[in-house]
Symmetry: C2
């Protein structure tokens, strides 16, 4: 990793214990650096904004980089799994297997549509949205991207962060159309372009709180593209991006065809919440980013950046102190 230009010290801070073998692997990989590990204790409450108030962030110019980009593959897998589980009625197959029943009705070609030709709108075209776009395109779908700032040029559509090799949409060539804006009117225009799927992959901010309320759901539904199925909503952002009461109503009335929710309002979702049993909803407990690749990929970013530091190149995923991310 570089030789004489290598950094003198690397501090690795993680919110969970770092296994001994992983520590050894890191020391081995970065043999030229003095490596230390620090992990916050599990179960000990962390004050809100703990990290963003930390002296390293507030009072130093030490390089800090984020793990942005590592979540694309698992969250895209979670998303596409839920689409297919819903559209292909997997729960029926699962229950039939549990009961040892071979439920094949002769002559029935199946009461469902596949994803070919469907149109997915992705609200927030970051690393996660891009990997969802990649798989959607492979399934034969058309992708429509929405970003906060305009992306009029090919260069502006590139992904400049960390990308898990072999995934994503590095040059932003997948979307059939690009849309943008930070106001509600722009988002409503996007929801009217004719979508079969809406994926919400935006941060929660005052502007995005209850972004998808009754009126937006109506716009999405009334302008949906497919001749027979109603739009399907996927939320991998935060629960409060959706007006959950309006969502439950839209699922019951058939205004929406279904929803996959990795996040709810509140979390944990109370046992008696009506969302649990709304029609065609699939709920998971904020687990879509999980997987054993979480830590190795975080370390991969560190490895890339140590190489760049050694060569004096700009870092990827550099934390911007002025923007707070």
């Amino acid at each position: 990793m570089g030789g004489e230009k290598a950094p003198e010290r690397v501090i690795i801070v993680l919110h969970r214990p770092i296994p001994e073998d992983v520590q050894a692997e890191i020391r081995h990989k970065f043999a030229d650096a003095e490596v230390s590990f620090y992990n916050s204790e599990l179960g000990v409450p962390v004050p809100p904004d703990h990290l963003s108030q930390h002296p390293i962030l507030r009072e130093s110019d030490i390089h800090v980089t984020t793990s942005s980009g590592i979540h694309g593959p698992p969250i895209a897998e979670w998303t596409v799994m839920n689409w297919l589980v819903s559209s292909r009625k997997y729960a029926e197959t699962y229950e039939a297997q549990k009961a040892h029943q071979w439920q094949n009705k002769n002559g029935d070609v199946g009461g469902f549509h596949d994803q070919v030709g469907k149109r997915v709108g992705i609200l927030g075209y970051g690393s996660i949205g891009r990997q969802i776009a990649r798989v959607s395109q492979a399934l034969g779908m058309t992708v429509h991207a929405y970003t906060a700032s305009p992306r009029p040029t090919p260069e502006s559509r590139h992904d400049h962060g960390y990308i898990v090799p072999g995934t994503g949409d590095p040059d932003g060539s997948i979307p059939a159309s690009w849309h943008h804006g930070t106001d509600r009117e722009s988002i409503r225009k996007f929801l009217a372009v004719g979508l079969d799927h809406l994926v919400i992959s935006l941060p929660l901010t005052p502007q995005t709180t209850y972004l998808l309320s009754e009126e937006e759901i109506t716009i999405l539904s009334e302008n949906s593209h497919h001749h027979a199925s109603k739009p399907y909503v996927t939320n991998i952002s935060r629960g409060k991006v959706i007006d959950q009461k309006a969502l439950v109503d839209a699922l019951h009335s058939g205004v929406l065809g279904g929803a996959a929710l990795d996040v709810t309002d509140p979390e944990p979702l109370p046992e008696d919440d009506p969302l649990w049993d709304a029609p065609n909803v699939q709920i998971s407990p904020h687990i879509s980013s999980r997987g054993k690749e979480y830590i190795p990929r975080s370390l991969d970013i560190l490895k890339v950046n140590l190489g760049r530091l050694a060569k004096g190149e700009p870092l990827i995923n550099d934390y911007k102190r002025d923007k707070g991310y």
Copy 2:
């Protein structure tokens, strides 16, 4: 559809009733032709080899074309859905939702791997295998193709049949390696290349009967590529391609990591068959090709071919009387 060169008569034969509106649509599309419909009665047993012995096939040179190519998207969706349901332990999420339980253990990054970097071997690289390859590549996987005859040139790797627009691998550019053969030794060599997934998408013939038996399963398992997970077998061919007893044993012993089976031996699978409860197996009742696009896509092939007939061009999916398919 052509004008003066249009065919005089089109006969549409289907194994199920053709709805009036679909009939009207076809008559409208092929206004220059005399269109008639024939469907075999549901519930009336059809003699084995009924169609292959039909005078039209045996004694005429009337063009007959097949529906090959229409099954890629639904079967690829079925396949990838099962991979993700298995790898991401969807059944746990599903059962927790039924019980209204938010099961999120703090600090747990999930005991599973995603598909990035995994290697899939596809036995039988036809239209179905190609669409599975397309989605696999999008998920970050590497594809290894196996065909009966050698495919040494770029031209020999093309798909010349019907392809659902926007899907498949028309020019055969996806596989990282190509393998071939019709004997057991060639298949064993393929199983040893280091795979995480094996997809069986071959016709059942005397050569492919019990193709995957105890010895082949051992070869697949001992040479598997991933550092932590054992190979996963997907069968979308026919049940008898696998020695089912050997498969059940391999699932119990952990020699295989799991299996998705749309076909079993026999069908229907008897209620007391040990396969139903083997570890990490997902069984569906021969439904992977189903979907509402089945008939529209069959008619799309007809439409393409009527256009080609009118222009005197060779047909796609032309039935080869000498080969029987």
